[in-house]
Each structure stands twice: as structure tokens, then as C-alpha cells.
Amino acid sequence: MLQQLMPAFRIMLVMTVLTGLVYPAAITGICQVLFRDQANGSLVAVNGRSVGSSLIGQNFAKPEYFHPRPSAAGNDGYDGLASQGSNLGPTNQKLIDRVKASVAQFRKDNPDYTGPLPADLVTASGSGLDPHISPDSADAQVARVSKARGIDPAKIRDLVARHTESRQLGFLGEPRVNVLQLNLALDQKP
């Protein structure tokens, strides 16, 4: 055992240099050339100023914006340095209370929507940074946004449809709407 320690430390050192420094450095170098935008956070700029990342959700509370899902990241949600889910189990009173509160809030904010709520709209995501909502969740908010902005709901619905990504390759994942990009598109539309 003792005589194995010498080669062990030597090979560990070699591996550390190879896989811990050379490998990530090489990948960083290549990615910074080939995939510059993605490698640096897919940042979205408005008028030359970054307003966020297209991959990271952010809080929207104003009625004229589409609202994202509840977030458990950080105290106020969508804290980029505290990614996490609620980790509340299905029989936890807190979960049910929180969902009930979200439902009540949503009903209050969107009196025109009367259908059953899509599940994603009142549940917290796994990362707390989910940039998406489901198309139905967007649809449920169309009436409110249209009222707040005074735009024809059909136009907004059209915008939502254009910002709806379908399943990748036709079967992977779920259809989804990127809330930040949808809201930015809303702002750009006069």
C-alpha cells in the first residue's frame, strides 16, 4: 500500500493537470471562438444593454408583462446565484398553501380567465430560473396583458404563437414560451 502511494500521487498530479487544467482550458478556448454567445451566457441586450439571459428566467410582476412561474430561487425568486426548487413534497401543507395562494393571486390578476389553471403556472420549477411557461399558461394571461396594453388579444395571441417553441425534433420535451423574449417582443411592438 505504501509503495503504491508514490505512483498514486504522481499520477494524480498528472491527471489534475490534464483533466483539471488543460482540458477545461482547451474547451474554453474552443468555445470562446466557436460558440462565443452561448459560452458567455446567451445574454440578451436591449439598446446595447444586457437585460438578462435568454436562458434564465426573471421576475415579471407588472400586468402588461407575461408572468413567469413561481420561483424558489432566493428570497424573491429568480435569484441567479441561488438556483433551486422548493423541494416541498406532495403531502406538504406548505406546498398546498403556496399553490392555493398562487391560484388565488392568478384568479385575482386574471379575472377574465376562468378555465382550469395549467399546472406549470402555479408550481415552482426545479431550477427556480425556468425561462419558460407552457403555451396554455401564456394563453391564460393574454386577456390581462391585452387589457393592460390596450392591444387586441388576437394580436397578442399571435405573438405568443410566434414565440412558442414546439417539441425539438418533434418529440423531445414540451412546447414552451420564453417569457423574457415574449415580453421583449411585446415592448418592441408599438
Binding site: M15, G20, F35, I96, G126, H132, G170
Partner: protein
Amino acid sequence: MTASGVLQIVVYFLILLALTKPVGTFMARLFAGERTFLHPLFRPLERLIYKLSGVREETEQRWTQYAASLLAFSIAGFVFAYLIQRLQGILPLNPQHFGAAGAPPSATPVTPDLAFNTAASFVTNTNWQSYSGESTFSYLVQMAALTVQNFVSAAAGIAVAIALIRGFARQQMTSIGNFWVDITRATLYLLLPLSVVGALFLCSQGVLQNLHANTVVKTVEGALQSIPQGPVASQEAIKMVGTNGGGFFGANSAHPFENPTPLTNFVQMLMIFVIPAGLTYTFGKMVRDTRQGWAIFAACSVMFLAGVFIAYPAEQAGNPILAHHGIRSSPTAGQPGGNMEGKEVRFGIASSALFAVITTDASCGAVNGMHDSYTPLGGLVPLFNIETGEVIFGGTGAGMYGILLYAILAVFIAGLMVGRTPEYIGKKIEQKEVKMAMLALIATAASTLVFSGISSVATFDWDHSKYLNPPPATLKPAPASSVPPTANLNNSGPHGFSEILYAYSSATGNNGSAFGGINTNTPWYNATMGAAMLIGRFLFLLPLLAAAGSLAGKKKVPATSGTFPTHGPLFVCLLVGTVVIVGALTFFPALSLGPIVEHFLMYSGKLFT
């Protein structure tokens, strides 16, 4: 269940099936010392590594030397990982100044117990994380301590699997290979190329890869938001390929910067299984009977698909209590329905359930949704997968040697029923093998059950608690006199118990996924879980190396019609039955007080505060 969900599962399985043979063949060649198409590229580097490390390539080791090398290597890895963590404040590549003056106020201090837990965790290929990466570790720690262990702990697992396979393949030999050569080849020719390709692909889809400090942006509504940065893709790739599972970020593969699209999610799931599935073929190839490998593949497939088709419908059915509050639980064209708490919209139900099953079939532990918020059955499947030793394809190498342990047991128990001393792959299964297999099973069962038991009822007086197990600051009202480890749970009732059970199962099983609500960054949990990880790794793997040594020394009994056939459907059923029954018998009482009773309670509408 939706058509696209089922289609995704089927396509996933078919691609895995298609990859098994080429990858398996490549590994068989690699570990037999034959030339592969990557040799022109890596052979000079391989030679250089041996030269720098003083390894003699052509020498072979007995099982004891092989095991000693493995232990020495793990000790070296542990020392490196521990020191780099503790010294991150004075080391470079630390733009957030963790562990130094100027660290953000939300940063987690790297205490000795956390560093111990993390070092043990990464050395044992567990990658349990008592911390959240983005608020704890510098880029140097992520790269030079954690990424490195992601490579080499996976390589060590593969090495042990190959050594055990050699035990079956060889006869009347005292040696089972050379550990140094095996890990070097596994790293250079297998893990590194797959990781490079994987990292580039992931980055192209939006996974970060830089060394910048975090970016602070002003959001559309005017708030400040920190966008994290870092060398994520390079770590993400090996995290999946090496079935490590330790995320760069707290949210792991649920984080959009780790796993931005359904496609990356699909590829990540393939990256988890590609080596473990390939190893089944490597096994068949090395013992010169590929049917034996396919039988193992088939047994794994049966258990894998069974798990998926229990967890997926359970998640899709969702939480009946929520359905009472006007929430749609059935899927429609425009929304996924089901239990979306803790899941990402881009993945929906199918991809999340599938990911949870795969990550726990293998000892990966990456998560793309929070298992703690899964339905009881959706959480039971991952938990049971872990408790049966993660042998459904399993971890890189670890799955292979784990399923071989079960094969030994299955053959021994039922094999007597053909009226002969049981044989597997022509090797008689005798005292030594049975003893070693039982030792491994007992050690892991004991670790999971005993630690969970203590944590369920122990209390420390307040003076000790301040040190041993400080409750989370959010605990309100603050405890007055004594604090049990159960104060660190995020849920109560059966689900709270599941959090403890899952934590120690995951640590012992070297999985690393969590019912993440439990706060384990306390000396008590860090120490006991670190111990569980070491037990689960080494007391499982050392007995199997001993068995490998014993098997290699035996003659091969030629197969006849009197030989227990270990390549047909009958053996597949038997192997599945053994895994499920041994696991169920050991953990049924515990599981019945956790997810099983919670399932019934959820349907009766019972809630816990």
C-alpha cells in the same frame, strides 16, 4: 402519458441499444490492450503519463496490489480535493473571491466537514453536494478538484469492472490487470474524447464555458439579477459521461445553463448510459460469449423500462390534492399537466421522469427536476433504484460490478436447483465468492439503514447542536433546547422520513441525487454521509476485487447441457427477480414508512405541516 412522451422513451432506448455494441467493442479492445482508432492520437500521451508517474505498463497486479493501488489513488485524490477546496481563497481562478476577503455575503464557507464531505463525495463518484456550486466554489475548485475527480473516480470504477470481468475471463491466473494502466486508458481513450465532444455540443446549445466573474444585469422590470458564469460545459460533459452527477450549480441539470434544451437533456441522458450499457457488451466480448453480455443488457433493460413506466404515469397523474384546487392535471397540447412542482417546462413530465429513473439506475445523481417534489411513486422508483445498488446499467463500471454481484447471488441461490455447484461464465461460485458478495451487500445495507435510523431519532443538546447540527437559519421558531437532525428536514411526515432515507441511500449508493430539501451542510450530516459514501464505495468494491482474484485463479468449466444457462430469458428473469427481491426484502420496512405510505396518504388527502 402522452404519445410524444412514450415515443421519447422508446427512441431513447433504441439509440442506447444501437450504441451498446460499438461502444462495448471499443472498450473490449481498449482494455485488452489492442490498438484502437484513437491510438495515433493518444498513445504518445499515454506513454508520457506512465513515464511521469513511474508506472510500468507491462506489469500485472494480483487483486491485493490492484486494490492497494486503487486505495492509494483514492487517498491521493482525496488529499488533492480537500486541500484545493480549503485553500481556494489563496489560489487563482477565483473571481468571486470565495474563501477570501470580498466574498459575497451569501457565500457558503468551506468548513472542514464540508470539505471532507465533498472530497469523499467526489472521490467515491457520488457527487453528493452539501453546497450550492455557484455560491461556494471557485472555478479552480470546480476544475482542478471536482472535474478531475469526475474523470478519475469514473475511470477507477471502470477499472474495477474490467478487473472483475477479467476474473471471469481468465483462468488459472493470479493477476487481474494493472490498475494504473486501466485508469489511464479509461481516462485518455474513453472519458476524455467523449467529454470533449460532449462539452462542445453542450456549449453550442447554450451551456456556459468561460472564466468570467458573474454578470449583473438590470432586468426588464428594473431589478438587478446576477447571471452566473463559469467553466460549466467542460464539467457538465464529464459529470454525465462519468455518471458523477455533481452539478456546477445547485439546481444541477435542471439549471438552464447546465441543460438548456430538450435536446441537451436527451443527449445528457444518453451520456449517462452510454458507457454502462456498452460495458455489458464489453463483458460478453471479454468472456467470449456475447450472449452473456446481452443477457445482462436485457435484465437491465427490463428493470429500466419497468421503472420508467411506474414513475412516468405516477408523475403524469400528478398530485390529486392540487387537482382539487382547479389545476389541470391532465396533459393538453399546450401544457404538460401532471406534477410540475420542481420540474422545468422545457422538459415537462416525460423527460423529467425518464431522467430521474436513468440518473438513479446509474449512480449518476444528476437531476433535471427536484426529486423531493416528485409524487411518492415517482420518488420511490429513484430511491429503490439506488437502494438496489444502482445496477440497472449502473454507474460507469460500478453498475457492471454491481450487477455481477447480483448475478453471482442469483446463480448461487437458484443455480443449485439444476443439481450442480453453481457456475457463472464457467466459474464455480463457491464460498469465497458468496462470502464477498454478502459482505458487500451487508456493508451497504448497514450503512444506509443504521445512519438513517440514527438520524431519525437522535437528538443533541443545544450546546452540541450549535456545533454538530445547527438547524437552518430559516427554522422558525428557533429551537429552544435540543435539536434533532430531523430539524434539518424540509418536509415532515413520511416525506420527511424519505428525505433522510434518500440521503443515506444516495450517499451509500454513491449516487448523489437528493430529496434536496434536507439541509445536510452540518458537521453531523457531512461526517456521517461522508462515511456512508466511503463505505458504499470501498466496502462494496474491495470484496468484489477479492472475488475477481479468486475467480481469475479458477479453471473454466466447459458448458454442457447440464450447465445453468445464463444467457436466456430464464436467467434474465432470475436476475431481475434477485435484484428486486433482495432489494425489496432489505428496504421494504423502511420504504413502507416513507414513499409507500405517503402514496396512500396523498390519495386520501392527508397533509403534514
